[in-house]
């Protein structure tokens, strides 16, 4: 049985852990040695596995864009303030600029490139963005679409005010906001039917 963090199990594990004598150096000294082999990380993106040797400080966003070549997720602010880097990890919308690639290892990552079906048919949210003219320059759009899918799946695509609140993490400097709300309204019923 894997270790469990119920109080009793945890204290038991801790006590036995403390009994071990540990020979290796503190982590901080290891990093000072300078020879840091890149860790091997396996990312599963849009159903495909990628084995990458990446330094710990590589973000999921940089791994997607610079290593795997999926440039749909955009680097806007790189500080979690604009939402252009939004992707789904295990079905939940997150910010790939504040996620270490290593922390996403083995989890299912979905980017805008993985939304259309194999026959090329667009995801209802992608189609709705086109139908409703929900973008102008398009830079924020992949993040908007992934976030909009999260908005519908989390059950926040009811009243327009709920949609706007639920999309507050995605900035659009062309200010296509009213049409983005319209696109989500259109896609929500198609997503429910699917």
């Amino acid at each position: 049985m894997p270790p469990d963090f119920s109080r009793r199990a945890f204290l038991g594990a801790s006590a036995s852990g403390m009994a071990l004598t540990l020979a290796s150096a503190p982590l901080a000294q290891e990093v000072d040695k300078g020879d840091r082999p890149a860790d091997l990380t396996t990312l599963v993106v849009n159903g495909q596995s990628y084995a990458l040797a990446v330094e710990p400080r590589v973000t999921l966003l940089d791994a997607l864009r610079e290593r795997i070549g999926l440039t749909g997720a955009k680097k806007g602010c790189d500080h979690g303030q604009c939402g252009a880097c939004t992707v789904l990890v295990d079905g939940r919308r997150v910010l790939s600029c504040l996620t270490l690639a290593a922390m996403a290892a083995g989890r299912a990552v979905t980017t805008v490139e993985g939304l259309a079906s194999r026959d090329g048919r667009l995801h209802p949210m992608q189609q709705a963005f086109i139908d409703c003219d929900a973008f102008q320059c398009g830079y924020c759009t992949p993040g908007q679409i992934l976030s909009a899918i999260g908005c519908v799946e989390e059950g926040h695509a009811g009243a327009d005010a709920d949609i706007r609140e639920s999309m507050s993490g995605n900035l659009c400097r062309c200010a296509a906001y009213p049409n983005i709300v319209a696109a989500i309204r259109q896609a929500r019923s198609e997503m429910r039917r699917a």
Partner: protein
């Protein structure tokens, strides 16, 4: 960003093994070489800004059982690794502890709430622009003894309560106000031992050491929060006022919980203020004034005046006293009229 090592602690034993090797840090936990990472939304952001420069991150996301919400007869226990979004939407929390659900739902944005954990939220660092921008040399919180650029600088977002001549940085969170109002207890773990700390004792006033923000040790981990079940938890509310309608830190906020008797008189009031203080701020003077009184515009205004009696404004933030008082009045009136 400087290079760092990344290690996963998937179970308590691995954590013990990693931490046992770390030398005890001389400075405060926030400047220790080895840091925990869970949601990463605060620490990784501050590492990109070079404000925090750890040499190793220990990923505690794989530690099992720390993300639970468990109800017992006397309290609810919120696990340290529970995500903000999950707690904000949990039926037990929305029905029995609405002030907690609202404080979480009004914070950050959906993506960040999907990532950020409760413990990380409580320990998030100030948004003071002089703290976050390392090109400013003077910041006693980031660089002890260097001075405070905010005191003579642009200090509109800064604190009016709990300030010191060394630091006026505002505590940025919302959830902590709900916890301090409801007399929560923090459970921590260190070197194989657990301890329980009153949430009100977790954060330290800046005083002359604003770099030391909590009483936690650098190898001490929060396991979770215990919130006592009480008569006032259902009648509770979080009101947040900010520069824009969503995805913004509070200029002023109030967490209020009331136990009101059948005659409409307050038996117990619990009040905490955010956006205006250097630490999560319990307004006990205001609570005392409301005991035995009905909640009316007059009694609420008197309580709010008491809550800000000790306020010390700077050149740009005197407006926070009136804004804070009005925020509390609104929170008290709305909480007292809740249908429960």
């Amino acid at each position: 960003m400087q290079p760092f090592l990344y290690r996963r602690a998937d179970d308590p034993m691995a954590l013990v093994q990693i931490l046992a090797r770390e030398e005890s840090a001389a400075g405060p936990p926030t400047s220790a070489d080895t840091q925990f990472i869970a949601g990463g939304t605060t620490i990784f952001d501050l590492m990109k800004l070079d404000v925090m420069r750890p040499k190793a991150l220990v990923d505690i996301n794989g530690v099992r059982g720390l993300d639970r919400i468990e109800q017992s007869e006397n309290d609810v226990r919120l696990g340290a690794l529970a995500r903000m979004a999950d707690v904000a939407a949990h039926p037990l929390i929305t029905s029995r502890y609405p002030v907690i659900a609202e404080s979480l739902a009004l914070a950050a944005n959906p993506q960040l709430r999907n990532m950020a954990t409760l413990a990380g939220n409580v320990l998030q660092r100030t948004r003071c622009t002089y703290f976050r921008d390392v090109s400013w040399a003077a910041c006693n919180k980031r660089n002890p003894g260097s001075g405070c650029a905010a005191l003579g600088g642009f200090n509109r977002p800064h604190a009016v309560l709990g300030v010191s001549p060394s630091c006026i940085a505002t505590y940025p969170g919302d959830f902590a106000q709900a916890l301090i109002a409801l007399d929560a207890v923090v459970e921590t773990w260190r070197a194989g031992r657990t301890r329980a700390i009153a949430f009100a004792d977790l954060h330290r006033l800046p005083g002359d050491r604003p770099d030391i923000e909590t009483i936690l040790g650098s190898d001490e981990m929060i396991l979770g929060f215990r919130v006592p079940a009480a008569e006032w938890t259902r009648r509770s509310r979080f009101v947040k006022v900010r520069d824009r309608e969503s995805f913004e830190f509070a200029l002023a906020s109030a967490a209020v919980a009331l136990d009101v008797g059948p005659e409409g008189l307050v038996r117990q009031a619990r009040i905490a203020l955010g956006g205006v203080a250097t630490v999560p701020w319990r307004a006990r003077d205001a609570e005392a004034l409301l005991a035995g009184q009905p909640v009316t515009m007059e009694t609420a205004e008197r309580a709010a005046e008491a809550a800000f009696a000790a306020a010390q404004p700077q050149k740009d933030n005197a407006f926070k006293i009136l804004l804070g008082r009005r925020t509390l009045v609104r929170a008290l009136l709305e909480t007292s009229s809740l249908e429960i």
